[in-house]
Amino acid sequence: MKILLLGNPNSGKSTLFNSLTGLRQKVGNFPGVTVDQKSGTMTFQGQQHEIVDFPGIYSIYPKSAEEQVVYNALNALNPQEEPCIGLVVVDASNLERGLFLFSQLADLQIPLVLAINMVDLAERNGVEIKQDVLEMELANTPVVLMNARVGLGKDRLLKALQHQMEHGLKETYFSVSQGMIALEDISLQEQDAEKRFQKASELFHKSVITRTRSKEKSSLDGILTHPILGYFFFALILIGLFQAVFTLSSFPMDAIEQGFHWVSDYLSGLLPKGPFQELVCNGIIPGISGVLVFIPQIALLFFFIALLEDSGYMARAVFLMDRLVRPFGMNGRSVVPLLSSMACAIPGIMATRGIPNPKERLITLFVAPLMSCSARIPVYTLIISVVIPSKTVLGFVQLQGLVLFALYLLGIVAALTVAWVMQQVLRQDRRSLYLIEIPEFKPPHWRNILMTVFDKIKVFVLEAGGIILALSIVIWAVSNYGPTAERKTALRVLKQQEAYISAQNDERERLESSVLLEHSYLGKFGKGIEPIIAPLGYDWKIGIAIGSSFLAREVFVGTLSTIYAHAETSGSYRLKDKLLQEKKADGSKKFTLASGISLMVFYVFALQCLSTLAVARRETGSWRIPIIQLLLFGAMAYGGAFLCYQLF
C-alpha cells in the first residue's frame, strides 16, 4: 500500500523517512517542478509498501511552490482506486498546529496515523501529552508517541500502520468541512482555518498539560545571532567551510584523476590499437573521470550544509544574512550556495534547492557561475605570471596577489549586478512571504547527514553525469580528429624540419601532437574564430584553448602547452617563457599586458564549463536557463575583454 508521509516542517519527518526506508529510497522531481520527490520502500510482515515523503507544510493550502506540490498530490488522490494511508508527523512541542494540519487531512477522508515526534524535547519544554485522551477523542486514528532520532516508538508505529492497512478507518472528530476549498478563495480558506483552529485548540487543551517554564534566554543564540558576534561567527564558519571544500577535496580529486589515468593507460595496452581504443582510453574514460572528479566537492559541501541545517544553525545564518542580500533579489538562504560557488559552481547550484521562493532561487542559481571557482585559478595564475610583474606596491602589497584578488572581486561584483538587474526585470508571481521557523539547536543526526550527501551524489552522477560525459566525448573527438589528408601533409612537413630531426623521442611526440591539434576540427574552429577574437587580443592558439576549456577551465593551460610545444623558443620548456617570448610578424611581443588582462577578464565572466550547464539544466528542468546563462555571460566576457584590450 502507498503511505503518504505528511507533516509540519522541522517535525523530524525526514529522520522518520530515513529510518523507515533505509537505503531503499530514490530522489526525483515532482512532475513539472524542481522540488525533490523522495520515495522509498519498506517491508514489514512480508509485504512491501511504498512511502512518499512530501515537503513540510503547515496547511494543505499552499503559500509556496513546495507546498503547491503537496496540494496537487492530495488533489489527485483517488482512495477508491488506489488505497493509501496518511502518516502525519507532528512536533510534540508544537502539537496545537500539528493538530490543525491533521484536521485538514482527516477531513479529506484518508485513513491516517498520527505520529507525535520528538517527545523527549517536548518533555524538556514542559509538555505532557495524554495519549489516552487523544486516542479517545480521535477514535479512528492510532496515535503514536515517538522519538524517531533514536528509534523510540518505531515498533508501535509499524503496528499502527498495519492496523490502518487492515481497517482503513477514517477520522470523524473534526469534520469542519469536506473536501478542498478552491485555491483562489482565500477568504473561505481563512474562515475554514479559524473554525479548524478552534477545534484543534479545544482538543489540544484537553489532551496536553503545559507547565509554563520560565524560558531561559538561550546563551548560544545570544552569541550566534548577536548583531556583531553573529556575523563574526558566520564568517568563521564560512571560511572553515570554504577551506574544507577547497583543501580536503584536492586529495580525493587527484586520486580519482590519477586512478582513471592509470585505467586508461592499462586499457590502451590491452586493447588493439585503433579508433575504438582511442575512443575508450582518451574519450570515454577521461570523460567519466571528468564527471566523478566533482564528487569530493559535492560530498564535502553537502556534508557541511546538512550539518548546519540539521543542527539548526542554518536558520540563524539565514536570519542574519537576509537583509544583506535582499536588495539583490536574494534570500538569506542564497548566501551559502553563492559563496560555495567560489569553490565550485556545481554543488553551489545544487544547493539552491533549499531556497523556497522560485524567483530568489532562480536569481541565485543564475549568478552563481560568476563567482570565480577553483578551476579558474590555474588560468589566472598562469596569465598573471606572464603579464603582471612580480613586485610590491604601496610598500607591502604583492602586485600579483592584488590582481588575483581583483579578479575575485570582479566576479562577486558581476554576480551582484546581474542579480540586481534580474530583481528589477523578473516578475514575482506570488508575493514572497519570508516566514521561517528557527528550530531549537539539536545535536546533528549523522545518518540524516550522510543520506543527504549520498542523495546529492546520486542525483549529480545519474542526472547530470550523462550529459557531461556525452559533451566531453564530443570535445575530445573534435580535438583529435580532422581532415586526414591535411593532417598527413602537416606531419610530413614537420618531419622534415630541423627541430624535429634533432629532437629526442618525447620531444618529437610533443611536436607531433601539437601539429595534429592545429590541424584538428578544433584547430579549424580556433582559426575560424580568430577574426572574432582578434579585437580581444587573442590569436587562433588562444581560440583553440578557449574552445577546449569548455571541458573544464583548467584544461586551458594544458591545451596551450600542447599547442606551444612546437613554438620555436630558445631553450626553455616552460609555457610561461614561451608565451613571453612569442613575437608578432613586426617583432613586437604577442602576449602583452593588454591581451593578458583581457584574457583574465574573459575567464571571470565566461561560462566555460559544460558541467555547470548540465547541472543548471537539471536544477531548472530545461535548457532555457543554461543557454541564457551561456549567451549572457559570453557577451559580458566578450564586452569586458574587448574593453580591457582597448584600454590597456
Partner: protein
C-alpha cells in the same frame, strides 16, 4: 503598536494582523490574536525579527512585521 517596534526580550499579545496572506499563514503556524509572544532576536539594519510563540521561534521580515499589531 507594531510588532516591529517592541524591544528585544519584550513581551506582547497579538492583537490583529492586517494582511490576509500573512494572517492565514500565521494562523496555520499557531499565531492567532490573543496569543502571547516574546521578541527573541533582531537582525541589524532593519533585518528580520524573530519572536517566540509557544515552543517555537518564528522569524519575519521587519516590513511584514509592520502588519502585525500587538499590545
Amino acid at each position: 503598536m507594531k510588532l516591529s517596534a517592541i524591544p528585544k526580550w519584550g513581551k506582547a499579545k497579538i492583537k490583529e494582523i492586517n494582511h490576509p496572506l500573512l494572517r492565514t499563514k500565521l494562523l496555520e503556524m499557531g499565531v492567532v490574536p490573543g496569543v502571547e509572544i516574546t521578541l527573541m532576536m533582531r537582525a541589524p539594519f532593519q533585518g528580520p525579527i524573530a519572536f517566540q510563540c509557544g515552543n517555537t521561534n518564528i522569524s519575519v521580515r521587519s516590513e511584514d512585521a509592520d502588519f502585525i499589531i500587538v499590545n
